[in-house]
């Protein structure tokens, strides 16, 4: 069995790949007269690592923002867990179990690692403003519960030593890791990573790749990621969508994409009509 069939199957390395988790149907996004995304369709299967690649300005981040609910496409439908998704605000989508990291780190610089990751638990907290502020009743039990989950994330990402350090004082590579931690703390069904390895050195990239694979393997989290580093993408992704000038020019396993003439042209630079 493989990705050619819609049924769940077990991948060669033992991971379970389920049915379709999210499907994009003919998405088009325009900003005024600029076409950012033109008629793109693809699906994300449960348990897979799905990469979106393409040259600068291809519309990758826009695509992620569409999935995330930050942009609303003018045309097309998004189906999530078997139901068509009505237009929603990003925070509503977060409640559906979609978490993300950002290309330019978006953490609270003055807050500690621990507190930053704790904010990822927001969607799981039920206590009201007053009980939270007074730390009274249910809020107290809830904090203990959530802190336990945050500590598991800290342990998983091996960042115990910076638990109490303000994030602004951390080096870039660690900040990226904290941001991943915050997304993981939300226990997402679908994790969106926007260039998780941008600006990292080789060692940091290897660490991050290992964490991404471990998240997918240990928790079965579905991951959609944008990445520039071809080597990394080809190594860790199950399937790759290739975009160029807002269009989809390739879709398939890394091997299929690598031999696709349209993809080679886009990366090596052939004149567009």
């Amino acid at each position: 069995m493989s990705f050619d069939h819609a049924d769940p199957f077990t991948a060669a390395d033992g991971r379970a790949i389920g049915g379709v988790l999210m499907e994009m149907k003919n998405i088009s996004l325009r900003f005024g007269g600029v076409k950012a995304i033109t008629d793109i369709s693809f699906d994300i299967r449960e348990g897979e690592i799905r990469a979106i690649i393409g040259p600068n300005g291809a519309g990758k981040s826009s695509m992620l923002n569409v999935i995330n609910g930050f942009y609303h496409p003018q045309e097309g439908e998004i189906w999530f867990r078997g139901a068509k998704r009505a237009p929603m605000k990003p925070h509503e989508i977060a409640y559906q179990g979609i978490a993300r990291t950002f290309q330019n780190i978006a953490l609270f610089k003055g807050m500690s690692t621990l507190d930053n990751i704790m904010t990822g638990r927001l969607t799981h907290m039920k206590g009201g403003l007053v009980s939270q502020a007074l730390w009274w009743g249910k809020a107290q039990a809830e904090e203990v519960e959530n802190r336990a989950i945050v500590e598991k994330v800290i342990d998983f990402l091996e960042i115990q030593s910076i638990r109490k350090t303000p994030v602004g004082r951390l080096p870039y590579g660690l900040q990226k890791r904290v941001e991943l931690g915050r997304a993981l703390a939300a226990e997402p069904k679908l994790l969106l990573l926007d260039e998780p390895m941008a600006g990292m050195n080789v060692e940091e990239k290897e660490d991050m790749s290992r964490f991404i694979l471990d998240v997918n393997d240990e928790f079965g989290t579905t991951i959609a990621l944008i990445e520039h580093d071809m080597g990394v993408v080809m190594d860790i992704a199950d399937r790759v969508v290739v975009m160029d000038y807002g269009r989809k020019i390739g879709d398939g396993t890394p091997d299929e994409v690598r031999t696709n003439q349209a993809v080679i042209d886009a990366y090596l630079g052939v004149a567009h009509d």
């Binding site: 598991k152 800290i154 342990d155 030593s161 471990d214 393997d217």
Partner: protein, 654 residues
């Protein structure tokens, strides 16, 4: 169940001590570990249950008495339990440095033909699987942290906690066998095997018996009156003999609590949270902490700086005296108390040393000013001298007799003797049984009467009985007049000055000593900046007359201190020069671990050595250097040679 001191003395193995602790100290904490941000703890009774379950699991898995069980991981309660569980089965635990590469592990695992291996996580399991093909004896791997191991072949891999559960399930039929095994063990049963790092050749497996460990534990606990109320932070490698003695030998005898840090990077934070009462660290740890304190003080406000300086100046005169129970005036006591409340107490707390009642350092010489700093804070920091073959303790400093330049008196039960060439020999209850599968080395090190050669040269001070280590025995020579020549002894004294980075002392077979000196660019450069001294290169700074004058003052100070020792007064430095380049491993002058390669330096700088001995005032030299990218170049310089004042030798006490 009430137990008496006699019961404790009757325990001749570690598993028996465990049973005793579970009975008499059942509700006292035995282990603590920070995990998921919280300190978890286990009482002696709980630890005994965990160990018993694991021991049953190992028995179920087919572990036999006499097998070797390798343990690879950082300090965690689970691995100390694994050692006890192996011992309970009559097997021999072999802790291995968890940062060693697969190659090194393969050698040790093969040499002791370990059947069972405890591995912390995927990283360690991967290393073992990498060399598995070469280890026919290896049968089972037990891992603690299953992260990333889900897809691995389950055949020989076992989960630590599942193994414990299997053991619990089989308790009814296997327990009697386990109890019988523990009861049958005695002082001759091998307790542990530790591989020495082996600076020369392959590592050797040092076999230590239960008698070695339990008797050493008893003697040294009594020496420092360690008891059930004490605690220690286990953060040094489990494969190192010191950790085994502190965290098992002494902890099991005294029944005190062993705390394990959350990770290697959080040690400093964890130390502060735990506040142990018993603490060991190598000199470079104390040095590093002191440096970071000083750097942070320099960034503090002027007011705080003055407060700190005044408090420390006073503490340095009073603190050590108070520790040694000497007379201190009431006013000074009061002032020290005040300092303690305002400055020293908070500082100690930040360093995690507030509760330290007994602190030890060992391994290499510690600078006197570093030593004095901690003693001034009121921390009872002492020195000990030991090695793996002695179950650590050869000598240690008793309370009230602490000095930076000795390593203390013979530990209880240890006999010392000094050979004609100055080499230190010892004989003690902790003396190792043998090197595993290496009778020649055993015979070379330990003679028929049980005397063990340390490889270090030293002498015993006549009036105090303290041992002083001067150098490695093979480096110690004789001067032309037959006096002892101990270069490292003098070099260490010189290197305690921050301005001096490296030095080489010559004098073997000659009538007097001379020295090459390397300045420390950071320290001297800093000084130059503060005094508006301009320089364009290392060479220029090294040759600056003011620098030479400073170094000369240092040398003369060292001469005065060397002259205090009748035996070593011949090692005073008569002439010295400051080298125009830093000694460098790239040029073959240092080893990769930054140790001086004497012979190579002697050959390379023959012209300089000749000049030191022929009385010339300066010497021209051209030296080949290797740049970092591998290119070669040469630098030339004219070096000034200075004479240093020497002190007349003190009369040898009759």
């Amino acid at each position: 169940m009430p137990t008496s001191a006699a019961d404790r003395l009757a325990c001749d193995t570690v598993p028996k001590l465990l049973a005793l602790n579970a009975a008499s100290y059942g509700t006292h904490p035995a282990y603590r570990e920070k995990e998921f941000g919280i300190w978890q703890s286990w009482t002696w009774a709980e630890a005994a249950e965990e160990i018993n379950a694991l021991a049953l699991g190992l028995m179920e898995l087919g572990l036999n008495a006499g097998d070797h069980v390798a343990i690879i991981g950082r300090n965690r309660p689970y691995f100390y339990w694994a050692m006890l569980a192996a011992q309970s089965n009559g097997a021999v635990p072999v802790p291995i440095y968890h940062d060693s590469v697969a190659e090194e592990m393969a050698y040790v695992l093969d040499h002791c033909s370990a059947r069972f291996v405890f591995a912390e996580d995927q990283e360690q399991v991967d290393k073992i699987l990498e060399v598995q093909g070469r280890l026919p004896g290896l049968e089972q791997i037990i891992y603690l942290d299953g992260g990333g191991l889900r897809k691995y072949d389950r055949g020989i891999l076992h989960d630590y906690r599942e193994l414990q559960n299997q053991g619990r399930a089989r308790a009814s039929d296997l327990q009697p066998k386990l109890d019988a095994e523990i009861a049958a063990q005695n002082g001759d049963t091998t307790c542990v095997m530790l591989y020495t790092s082996g600076t020369t050749g392959r590592p050797k497996g040092v076999v230590l018996s239960s008698d070695n460990i339990v008797k050493t534990g008893k003697a040294t606990c009594d020496f420092d009156s360690l008891s059930v109320g004490d605690s220690v932070l286990a953060y040094l490698p489990m494969a190192w003999v010191g950790d085994f003695i502190f965290s098992i030998g002494q902890a099991y005898y005294a029944g005190f609590c062993v705390a394990c840090p959350e990770s290697a990077d959080t040690m400093q934070t964890d130390l502060r949270e735990v506040g142990p009462s018993y603490f060991f660290a190598p000199p470079r740890y104390f040095e590093g902490v002191l440096t970071s304190v000083m750097i942070r003080m320099e960034d503090a406000s002027k007011f705080k700086q003055r407060l700190f300086k005044r408090a420390m100046d006073h503490a340095k005169t009073v603190g050590p005296k108070l520790l040694d129970d000497e007379d201190v005036s009431f006013g000074d006591k009061l002032k020290y108390r005040l300092n303690q409340a305002l400055v020293i107490g908070p500082l100690k707390n930040t360093l995690g040393l507030t509760n330290v009642r007994v602190g030890y350092t060992a391994g290499e010489a510690i600078g006197p000013e570093i030593f004095d700093f901690y003693r001034a804070l009121g921390i009872n920091l002492k020195q000990l001298y030991g090695q793996t073959e002695a179950s650590v303790f050869i000598t240690q400093q008793p309370d009230g007799q602490v000095r930076a330049d000795t390593v203390g008196v013979a530990s209880p039960g240890v006999e010392l003797k000094i050979a004609d060439n100055g080499e230190v020999f010892y004989r003690s209850p902790g003396t190792f049984v043998e090197y595993y599968k290496n009778p020649e080395s055993t015979a070379d090190t330990k003679d028929a009467e049980g005397w063990v050669a340390t490889g270090d040269a030293g002498f015993i001070e006549e009036d105090t009985g303290h041992l002083r280590i001067i150098d490695r025995a093979k480096d110690v020579g004789k001067m032309a007049d037959g006096a002892l020549f101990a270069p490292k002894y003098v070099e260490n004294k010189l290197k305690f000055f921050p301005n001096i980075l490296e030095t080489v002392v010559f004098g073997n077979g000659r009538d007097r000593c001379t020295a090459f000196i390397n300045i420390d660019l950071t320290a001297v450069g800093n000084w130059a900046e503060r005094n508006n001294i301009a320089y364009a290169s290392y060479q220029e700074l090294a040759g600056h007359p003011d620098v030479l004058a400073t170094i000369q003052a240092h040398v003369e100070e060292v001469n005065a201190s060397v002259a205090e020792d009748p035996m070593l007064s011949g090692c005073q430095i008569h002439r010295f020069l400051v080298l125009h380049k830093q000694l460098d491993a790239d040029d073959g002058e240092l080893t990769r671990t930054q140790k001086v390669r004497r012979r190579i330096i002697e050959e390379k700088y023959q012209v300089l050595i000749d000049a030191l001995y022929d009385g010339s005032a300066e010497v021209y030299v051209e030296t080949e250097v290797t740049y970092e990218d591998g290119r070669k170049g040469s630098i030339s310089a004219t070096l000034e040679i200075r004479d240093a004042k020497v002190q007349p030798a003190k009369a040898v006490a009759a």
